[in-house]
Amino acid sequence: MLNIILVFLIYFMFVGDNAHAYLDPGSGSMLISALVALVTIVIYMAKSFVYDKVKVFGKKSDLPDLHREYNVVVYSEGGQYWNVFLPILQELEARGESTMYFTSRQDDPGLTAEFKNIEKKFIGEGNAAFFVLNKLKANIVVMTTPGLGVLQIKRSKGVKHYCHITHSAGTCGSYKAFSLDYFDSVLVGGSADKNLIAELEGKRKTPAKHVEIVGCTYLDVLRTKLAGGSYSYNLFSEKRPTILISPTWGEHGLLYKYGKSILNLLSADKDFNIIVRPHPQSFTSEKNVMDDLLNTFPDNDRLKWDREKDPLKAMYHADIMISDFSGIIYDYLFLFERPVLTFKAQFEKRGREAMDLKDETPDIKLLDRIGKTLQESDIPELLSIVRTGLSEKSALAEVVKEAQEALTQYPGESGKRSADFIQSVLNSKK
C-alpha cells in the first residue's frame, strides 16, 4: 500500500494536475520499482552511515605502534584460544622468528608466557581491537577470528597475508556464513575442512585460498598434558564405569531439555559413577535450571559436578560420554578413543556455512558411528544403551582412524607444520 501512495505522490510531483501523463503497465511497474529502490537505497545508506561513523568505542588500551611493520602477528580474542596458538608460538620462538602476540583479554595466559622472540600486547576488546587490526602493517597475521572483511575486522592494506587457523576438531560447517572467504590461507585439522572450503569457493566464485592441513594445535597441547601423567582417577572413592554428561548450553542442550529424567535414571543405578559437566555458559543463561538440578542432584559418592576450567580431568575419568552437539565430543574421541552417545540436537544451519553445502559435514555424519545418536524416546533405555556402548568400545578404532583423517591429522605435529607454513609464506613475500 505504501508503494501505491508513493506512486501517487510522485505522480503529482512530477506531472502536476495540469499535465496528467499516462503510465502504461510497464512504466507503472518501473516507477514502483524505482521508488522502492530509492527508499531502499536511502535506508541502506543511512544504516551504513550510522554503523560506520557512529561507533561506540570499547575499553581503550595503549595502542601498539601502528607505524611499525610487523613480521608475524598472532591475534587472539582471549585465553580460550591460548592452546590453539601455543604450539605455533613455541615453534616460531624456537626458530627465532620475530612475532607479535596481540590479545583482546588482559587475563590471557599468553601475556605472561616467557618468550625471547615473541612480544606480547593487550590491544583492547571490540572496537579498540578492530581499530588496531584494521590499521596493521605486517607480513602475515594469524588468527582464529572468522569473518575477515565481512564483520568488523577488515583487511588492512598494510598486511600482506591473512591466515586463519581453526580452533575446534569439528568442521567449519558450523561457522557463520562467509567466515573464511577473504583469508589468503587457512590452517585446518583434516581433509573435511579442505574439501568444504573448496566447495564454498566453487559455489561463491571467491578466489581459491591456500588450505594447509596441519592437525589440531590445541589437541596437541592436551595430548602433551595427558602424556605428562598428572591425571589419576581420584574424583570418586570407588572406581566404577564412569559416565560424563557434557552438553552444550541453551534451550537445545540436553541438560536443559532432559536433565532431570536422565539424572534420575542414571543416579538410581549403583553400577556407575557420573560426572556432570555443564557448559560454563549454562550457569548464566539457564541459571534456574542449573540451580534446580544442583539442588535435586547434589554431589555424592557416585555423582560429581565438574566446573573446572580444564576439561581433561573429567574426560580422563570417563568411560563414555553423553553429549549433544558440542565441540567436546571430538576432543574426547580423539584424546581417549572412547564412545560418545549424542542426543540429536537441532543443528541450526541458517546463517552458517553448512547452509551452502550440498551434504552434511563429516563431523555430523560421524556422530552415528562414534556411539549411538539418541532421541527423547531412548531415555528409558539409556542404561542399557550405555552398557552396550561400553561393551562395543573396541569397534571404535576404525571409526576414529577415519575421523582423524577427516578432522585432525598429524597428531603432535601441528605446531611444527603451522610454523613451516607461516615461514613458507614469509619466504614467498621476500
Partner: protein, 231 residues
C-alpha cells in the same frame, strides 16, 4: 522551467505535430492520424522500452537470486550483523543497492514522452469539433453512454479494459505485490483521465493496444532463463 520544457518536452511535441499534420495531409482523417501517430511513437520507442525493460529485469533477476539468502539472514541475524551479512551477499553477487537506480534511467527516458503527449493532444486545436467513427468530437470527452441525466464517457473504460488486460500479460513477470500495484494504477488513471478529450483517450487506447503486443513479445523474451550466479 522553460529551458527544461524546451529540452525535454518540446522536441517530442514537435515530432508529434509533424506526424499528425503529415499523416492528416496524406489520409485526410484526424482519427486515423491519431492512431497512426500512436503507432509510430510506439515503434520509435521500442528500443528505449526494451533497454529500460532489460535494466529492470536485470534488477529483478538479481533480487530474486539473492532473495532466499536475504530471507535466511534476516531470520537469524539482527542489526549491524544482519547489515554486514547482507552487504557481503551483495558484494559476492557484484551488486550494490545503488544499482537499483538503473531502473530509474528507463523511467526518466519515458517521462518526457508521457508529458509531451498529454500537453500536445490536450491543446491540439485542429481536432476540436472533428468527429471520428462513433465519437462526436475528438476535442471533448465522448459522453457516449447515456445514463439518466448524465452522459457517461465510454473511452476511459475501453482504455482501462485494454490496460488491465495488458497488465495481466505483463504481470506474469512480476511478484504478486507488484501486480496488485499495477492494477491499482490502471484504475487510478481511469479516474485521472476520465474527463480528458476523446482524441487523447483514443491515442492512449491505441497506445495500450500496441503496448499489449509489445508486452507479449517482451514477456516471451524476458522469461527466457535469466543468467544466474549461484551463491
Amino acid at each position: 522551467m522553460n529551458i527544461f520544457y524546451m529540452i525535454f518536452f518540446y522536441p517530442i511535441e514537435l515530432l508529434m505535430e509533424f506526424l499528425m499534420s503529415h499523416l492528416f495531409s496524406l489520409i485526410g482523417s484526424y482519427g486515423v492520424s491519431i492512431i497512426l501517430t500512436s503507432f509510430s511513437i510506439n515503434i520509435i520507442m521500442i528500443p528505449v522500452f526494451w533497454y529500460a525493460e532489460k535494466l529492470q529485469q536485470r534488477e529483478r533477476d538479481i533480487q530474486a537470486l539473492m532473495a532466499p539468502k536475504i530471507k535466511e539472514y534476516k531470520s537469524v541475524f539482527k542489526g549491524y550483523e544482519r547489515h554486514l551479512y547482507i552487504s557481503n551477499l551483495h558484494k559476492q553477487y557484484g551488486y550494490h543497492p545503488v544499482y537499483a537506480l538503473r531502473s530509474l534511467l528507463g523511467l526518466f527516458i519515458q517521462l518526457p514522452f508521457f508529458v509531451a503527449t498529454y500537453n500536445f493532444l490536450s491543446h491540439y486545436n485542429a481536432v476540436a469539433g472533428v468527429p471520428f467513427l462513433f465519437i462526436g468530437d475528438l476535442g471533448k470527452p465522448d459522453m457516449l453512454i447515456p445514463m439518466l441525466s448524465l452522459n457517461v464517457n465510454l473511452l476511459p473504460f475501453v482504455m482501462t479494459g485494454v490496460n488491465l488486460f495488458s497488465s495481466f500479460v505483463y504481470g506474469k513477470l512480476l511478484t504478486k505485490a507488484e501486480r496488485v500495484n499495477i492494477y491499482v494504477i490502471a484504475l487510478f488513471f481511469l479516474v485521472v483521465l476520465y474527463n480528458s478529450p476523446s482524441g487523447l483517450l483514443l491515442y492512449w487506447t491505441c497506445n495500450n493496444i500496441f503496448s499489449y503486443f509489445k508486452s507479449v513479445v517482451f514477456v516471451k523474451q524476458l522469461q527466457k532463463k535469466p543468467q544466474s550466479a549461484e551463491v
